[in-house]
Each structure stands twice: as structure tokens, then as C-alpha cells.
Amino acid sequence: MNTTAVDIASNQPREYFCRTEPQAHNGSLLGFWFYLMNDCFIFSALFACVAVFGTSFAGGPTAAEVLDLNGLAVNTALLLVSSVTFGFAMLAMARQDKRGTLTWLAVSGVLAAVFVGLEIHEFVGMIAEGAGPERSAFLSTFFTLVGTHGLHVTLGVLWLIVLFTQVVRFGFTEANVRRLRCLSMFWHFLDLVWVGVFSYVYLIGVLR
């Protein structure tokens, strides 16, 4: 056909793919924001479960008996401080300060890792007391919601370790800057969800 004649004339193999990505600048950040908003729906469904089953103790331990508010205060402080230190890492990145960025990233990561550690300790303690997720509807929803949040924080820490290595090896490449921005949004978002968790599940749960 006609096209083959053109190909023979130019003597180039035809391409059926794009050599450049048709991606808008900063498009990842908006896309990641949409992902976070989607994540809100997961958490909203779990919060709705806690709202409905929050007092279904099935004769088992009540929220006031099993939830440890002192530990909660420590965890809340850890997550809030880690959110701010991640902000400092982003500010250091804006100054092209690699050492500062890595330091603040490490601080944020350690704080979040301690948070996860304390949460696992709390879960193990509750299960040992016979207040595991199978005991009552309240405990099932509690473990699902707080566990889902804890899983998010765990994956955030893993992501942070990967990006830490990336920045150490390759510095502030455009891709690394974009990835760090996305992780920063993720990090602040998890702290935001935690506000709902400690307010509604723990503090109001104890009152109900």
C-alpha cells in the first residue's frame, strides 16, 4: 500500500509506541492526591463500622477496659512530631540541602517505626489478655481500623527507606523530588487519619 512505499523510502522501521510520556508537569502530585482521597473512603467505611459496632462488646471487655490512653498519647505525639519533621525534610530539599533532608527523613522514619512498634506491642498485649479481634464486633472493627492505619504507616516507613537510599545514591533528581513530594503527602495524610482514630475510636470510645 501507500504507507509501505513511504517506509521503504525513509528506510526507517515504523514505531507504534510513544518515546515520551504524555504526562502533565506535576501530574503525579494531583494523581497522588486523588489516591489519598480514595484512601479516605476505605477509612470512612471502617470508621462507619466503628460507629455502628463501637458498643457491641458481646459480653467481652469494653473500650474503657482495654484501650490504653497513656500509650495512645505517646503514639499521637510520635506521629504528630514525625509529620512536622517530614515537613522539615521537605524544606531542606527546597534548599537543596541533602544532608539536612536525609537527617530529617531519618528522624521521621524512626519516629514512625517506634509508633508501629508500640502499636504492635499494644495489639499483642490485647490479644494475650483475650481481647483479640475474634472476641466481639467492637474488637473486630477496632483491630481492622487501627490495623489498616498501622499497615499504611508500615508501608510508608518502607517507602521512606527506599527513597532515603535513592537520595543517598542519586541525589535530588527530578524523579526523586517528585517521589519525596508524594511520600510527604502520604505521611501528612496518615497523621490526619490518626486524628480521627484517636478522637473517635479511643477518646470517644472510652466515653461510650
Binding site: 508537569h25 482521597m37 455502628v52 470517644i204 466515653l207
Partner: protein, 132 residues
């Protein structure tokens, strides 16, 4: 159309995007202080038993949580009318509306159902018409 808009973004959007998402030391510290205050008040309320009515305490804690969520969104996530040409805000508002529907409707439906399933209610409202 897509060609011109993407080249525009590449040229002008880069600096804007950086500004919109970076925040400043001041914004992070303001956010931290506000968030800390909004966290300490509900903890003090519950742990210090500094309330007379459980209903009032619940309402106060919920209200403070909503305010703190906005503090986080504004000072940490830097959401405003300008970031990403307003799309961030649009998505956020849509999500907020949907959350109110999901949470509010779930609570409403389930509590109404619980109320109707109470044995006392059952006798008074449901026994008459069907079986006899």
C-alpha cells in the same frame, strides 16, 4: 489543546507547583502548635475527667477533631484554592461530602434499625396487623 496546555505547564507550572507544595518553616510550626493544642484539649478532657456530661464531651471532641483535620490539611498538606488549579480542592470537597453521606447515613440507618429491633418496640408496633 493538550499540546498547548502541557507546554504551558512545563514552562510556568514548575515554579508554581514548588511554591504551592513546599510550605515554609512558619507554616509547619504554626500547624504543629495548633495541632498540639487541639490534641491536648481532648486528651485532658477524657483523661482528667474534666467534663460533666458525656454527650457534651463527645461533641467537643468531635468538633476539635474536625478543626484539627482542617489545620492539618491547610498547614501540612498546603491545600488552598490555587494548588493544582483548584482540582485538589475540588477532590477534597467531593470526598468530604461523600464521607458525610457514608458516615452519616450508616449511623442513621443502623441506629434506626437497632431502635426498631428493640423487643419493646416490636410488640407495640408490629404485632397487630400481620398475623391476626
Amino acid at each position: 489543546m493538550s499540546q498547548s496546555s502541557s507546554s504551558h505547564n512545563a514552562a510556568a507550572g514548575h515554579g508554581d507547583g514548588m511554591q504551592a507544595h513546599q510550605g515554609s518553616l512558619r507554616s509547619y510550626l504554626t500547624g504543629f502548635v495548633l495541632a498540639a493544642i487541639l490534641t491536648i484539649i481532648p486528651f485532658w478532657l477524657v483523661m482528667g475527667h474534666a467534663f460533666s456530661s458525656t454527650k457534651v464531651a463527645t461533641f467537643v471532641i468531635l468538633a476539635l477533631a474536625v478543626v484539627q483535620i482542617f489545620v492539618h490539611v491547610i498547614y501540612f498538606l498546603h491545600l488552598d484554592f490555587r494548588s493544582e488549579g483548584g482540582w485538589n480542592l475540588m477532590a477534597f470537597v467531593f470526598t468530604a461530602v461523600m464521607l458525610v453521606v457514608v458516615l452519616g447515613a450508616s449511623v442513621w440507618v443502623m441506629f434506626t434499625e437497632n431502635a426498631l429491633m428493640m423487643p419493646a418496640q416490636m410488640n407495640s408496633t408490629m404485632s397487630v396487623p400481620i398475623s391476626r
